[in-house]
Symmetry: C2
Subunit: 245 residues, 2 copies
DNA sequence: AAAACAAACGTAAAAATGACGTTTAAAATT
DNA sequence: AATTTTAAACGTCATTTTTACGTTTGTTTT
């Protein structure tokens, strides 16, 4: 067994979820367990991303999709492969059994990292076999391996992506209010945006479609609900070339 | 040997070079050779990217930098890791000796792909041990493996990058004219841009600095030379948040 | 001196942005 | 039933940026 693999490939997934109630961008992490030599699990006092090794005949995308499915039960979420991490020393700080086993053999573990976008509420935390939990992006717990670096780089990529494309709607329910979009942008980009100007800009987009519905169950004036039309967006953006330097 | 590796990692490099004379964005490719069993090389009638396997104690970035150095002699060029390719069937069309050897063992080759930006003229094609050659991005020859897909995805990433950041100057000499910048943008983005409006927009940027120099050796009115200041750009762009959706 | 021609400048209307103040509609309270 | 409360929604105006063009200028070549 020891000699079978010198290079080890895994896929790690950063799951971003937006919580409309607390208005925060969260990351889904799980408590870290290690297999001990005796077969029982050892709990380490930190959190990590979910990652798995690739199955035979699986593409990288397949593996990422499978990881998300196993973790959350969800499929068809927005997914982006954003970086591969392969420093020879990326796990050198670890003193765990699983790595020590291979130490003499110059084991290198390369991970291809993905991030997913979804709504916090879509994940059922009951029946929690992975001990998974949401953490706000700006208040993370102790993170194992080099996963803090991976989360940070995923977040940087996400911010840039949000400025260039309407991926923000992946973090919101199908029907949303303008103020909700406003709040997600502020949370994700970590900046203040003038609500009135933002509202005007958004409402003028042809792919932001007002519905014949309003919020229900709110204790103040209920807000107009809108939806985002990916189709209209795609048609409009064929010839966009705003050089933004 | 056969059992040592089941997963194979390599780094492939898409080298983009802009040619100020022909005004085209080019890709550097090399003729494909294979090692035969008898030790001599077999020439295949197509072109491929340059890629290598990682050395021990090398980061992915190190490997990419080494590949470029060996291919072109250049260091310190703009470099971006843009995607990992790991489909189990990505090389399945290949009937080459080197792969057939491993066929029974379900060999998977994952490649981490980078692209580089530089000036065509900086690469010396004399003493050409790799039989490397520039090809215009929109007139590529027959490409081996799945490298056409990799080139295409690199180009898509480059276009998006150019819209968001001033990486275009990596393709130009230190001193350039406004018209040259105009031409690179048109070549890379494959669109027409009004020259007068473009000129005004660029000249108004504080990080585009006019020099006390003009073109020499041109047969018409010589143009003003400019330079790009990365320092000024960085200082100015700290708080930019133009949501461009 | 004149011609040729790319480089460089100009202008005016339209659209987008930034920074604010004001009104409105529904629910809750009196 | 009227009043209060408060978030939602609209409005304005000055400034900046963009779009779509026409015109002038400065070298080199003829």
């Amino acid at each position: 067994m020891k000699f079978e693999k010198i290079t080890n490939i895994s896929v790690d997934c950063v799951v971003f979820g937006y919580d409309t109630i607390s208005k925060s961008l969260n990351v889904l992490l799980m408590k870290r367990y290690l297999e001990s030599d005796k077969g029982s699990d050892i709990l380490v006092n930190d959190h990590v991303l979910t990652g798995y090794h690739m199955h035979k005949n699986e593409t990288l995308d397949d593996t990422a999709t499978r990881v998300l499915k196993e973790l959350t039960g969800l499929t068809n979420q927005y997914k982006k492969q954003f970086k591969a991490f392969g420093d020879p020393n990326r796990l050198s700080g670890e003193k765990d059994l699983i790595w020590i086993k291979h130490e003499g053999f110059n084991l290198r573990t390369i991970t291809v990292a993905y991030y997913f976008l979804l709504k916090t509420e879509d994940v059922d935390l009951k029946n929690n076999k992975y001990q998974k939990q949401w953490f706000p992006i700006n208040n993370l717990p102790e993170i194992g391996f080099d996963h803090e670096k991976i989360i940070f780089e995923a977040y940087e990529d996400l911010k840039i992506k949000c400025l260039a494309e309407p991926v923000i709607f992946e973090l919101l329910p199908d029907k949303f209010t303008i103020n909700e979009v406003h709040e997600v942008y502020q949370s994700v980009l970590d900046i203040n945006i003038d609500n009135r100007n933002f509202r005007r800009k958004l409402i003028n987009k042809k792919y932001i479609i007002p519905l014949d519905e309003k919020q229900v169950g709110v204790s103040k004036k209920p807000a107009q609900l809108y939806m985002f039309s990916k189709d209209i967006y795609k048609k409009m953006f064929q010839k966009n070339y705003l050089i933004n330097i």
